[in-house]
């Protein structure tokens, strides 16, 4: 803006006066916007810190690739990408929008690092290893086995148990129908379920987001060095992408902050995504989020070591579940 004023000055005294007036009028707005940006950034950094993502550490993000079990996708699910962009920051979102991102088919992940997983076990395979969900020998969906550790909340993605359906719009895919997966919670009287609400037309009225933060027990090195696993996963995509609203909602963040005052090393947060807007092209989005629960589940170090042993036992079969078969010729001979 200063440069613009100097340019205007070169045109003559009258132009300089106009430019100077404009600059004086706009400057407070810029300053206000800058302050707001800084405040937003600080708020977001604080919010990310609340869910275990600290600005002074590095994290590997995993967004499920184009291997969604129920949808024929050529790239990652739009809801998961949206959640990722809202967490990774505006620069990455801008780069993606402008197609500046380099796509690599094979990216290796060091299991000993801080890992952020986006998406539920149905699409995010590593979450299946962590919580111990397994594909049934026949049929669709996932069976929960849970030999690694028991958490207060988990997803249920077994179509043999859940027959109810729900519908929602997905950006680029239109209207889709899916089983209405619930969250399962442990209580003294047994397992209970929280079910996303649907309307008479089976359109989703609400969705659920489960945030899980636990020590990274995938490797002993990760466990010993205090690394974390952070999972951001909704019962449907609407819930997953509502992380964007969570990170902006001061009220919810304050409640989470209060709920985590003891700084537990393992906790879960349940968010309800509400007031859904259904848009044919842009998809179904929540406009409001509320906190349903914050639950600690501290475990002794030995419990996470036991979880690591369970991962070691399960690892080969977990890899085999993701096999793509029948690749008869090298790519250059196809």
């Amino acid at each position: 803006m200063q440069a613009a004023a100097e340019n205007a000055a070169s045109l003559g005294p009258a132009s300089a006066t106009i430019a100077s007036t404009l600059f004086k009028a706009v400057a407070p707005m810029i300053a206000k916007a800058a302050v707001a940006m800084l405040r937003d950034r600080r708020t977001k950094a604080s919010a990310m810190g609340l869910i275990g993502i600290n600005s002074n550490e590095t994290y590997d993000y995993r967004v499920p690739a184009a291997n969604h079990p129920l949808l024929d996708l050529t790239e990652a699910h739009p809801d998961d990408v949206s959640a990722f962009c809202s967490m990774a920051g505006p620069a990455l979102a801008h780069a993606r929008k402008n197609d500046w991102l380099e796509i690599q088919e094979l990216v290796t992940l060091d299991f000993s690092r801080n890992i952020v997983l986006i998406g539920s076990p149905e699409a995010e395979s590593l979450l299946r290893l962590i919580f111990d969900y397994r594909r049934p020998k026949q049929g669709a969906g996932l069976k929960y086995v849970g030999e690694t550790f028991d958490a207060p909340y988990r997803w249920m993605e077994d179509p043999e148990i859940i027959s109810a359906e729900c519908r929602r719009y997905v950006n680029g895919l239109g209207l889709i129908t899916r089983p209405n997966w619930p969250l399962v919670y442990q209580s003294t009287s047994g397992d209970g379920r929280i079910i996303p609400q649907v309307g008479h037309d089976n359109l989703l009225q609400s969705d659920l987001l489960l945030i899980t933060v636990i020590p990274n027990f995938l490797t002993l090195k990760g466990l010993e060095s205090g690394r974390k696993i952070i999972s951001i996963a909704g019962t449907h995509g609407v819930g997953t992408r509502s992380i964007e609203l969570v990170l902006k909602s001061r009220g919810v963040l304050r409640q989470i902050h209060d709920g985590l005052s003891t700084r537990p090393n393992a906790f879960q947060i349940v968010i309800e995504a509400q007031r859904l807007k259904h848009h044919v092209r842009r998809g179904t989005n929540a406009t409001r989020v509320t906190l349903r629960d914050v639950r600690h589940f501290e475990r002794p170090y030995s419990a996470w070591e036991a979880a690591n042993r369970a991962v070691a036992r399960r690892f080969s079969d977990w890899v085999a579940e993701d096999n793509r078969r029948n690749r008869p010729l090298p790519p250059d001979r196809r």
Binding site: F111, R134, K137, L218, T219, L220, N308, R309, V311, A312, R313, F315, S316, D317, V319, A320, E321, N323, R325, R327, P328, P330, P331
Partner: protein, 326 residues
Amino acid sequence: MGYGDTDRHLARLGADALRLAAMKTLQHLELSTGWGKVALEEGQIHPGDPPLGADYEAHHRFTTVLYCHPAMAYLNIEDVVGEERLLEGRIAVKPGSRVVVLDPLDGSTQWALIRSGHSVAAMILISGLDGNLRLESAVVANPVHTFTLVAGEPLRLGATNGRSEDDLWLTSCLPESLASPSVAVTGYKTKDRGSMLAFLKEIPDWAFLTIGGNPVTPYVMAGDLTAAITWRSQFTWDAVGILMATQTDAVVGNIDGDVVNGPTFAEHFDRVVLTQNARVIQPMIVAKSAARFDELVLAIDRARDEFGPSFGTGVEELDFGDDVGE
């Protein structure tokens, strides 16, 4: 439970790690273009057939996957040795530690010819308190099936690209269902042609496959193959399929007709398992039944009498008679 005692959980864990490494090695071999021969350096020895680029690639792939497996934190594996990485001197493994013995591309000639008929064979040996090694687990994996043996448990069969939890126990040979019996012979080379023709004359009703060894022997139990013969002495890593057969009701013995049982062969196997890269497992027959085993022993005996003392030595004088080429 002290060092050297079989810890069943760790044995299974090791088998699972071998299985994953084998699966990934086989997937790698689907796309490999390493069919060129590798020239050995002066003084370098390679047991078995002349090595291909794919042999070394496969060894590298196997070890890379194995060392990334979370089970490695618990297994104390000191080394991966075998066909592509020969031992230098006597191997000393600390009590309680383990060593992997690997043939990453067993059947490399078949692989080079038809991209099939190959397998990955791998074993984990554990060192006891006395420093002696013994087999704890083993896998033979081809692109379709994986056979898994854990010490003290029956043999398992599963899909190579599937999960071990879906494996089946394989304790008994499938019955023959084809019109004629069949025998697969490994170690057969062109230099054995005369002996082999003499042998084949003695089994006129049998179908004959000129591939064998680990990729084939387990199918005496799991397939329609009636019998498998190793024509010459084997390295232990080439005989994992025979060891597996001894854990089922297949009849296993040497070509002179001496039948061995599972514990006896396993004890012998452990004793010679890392004997300075020597071919310590004598020529063997694995058959679905005692009757078939006896038929083959008799046929070999007659062929030896017919052919003379150079039978099966690999240095025979070929003699096709006067009518060759007519």
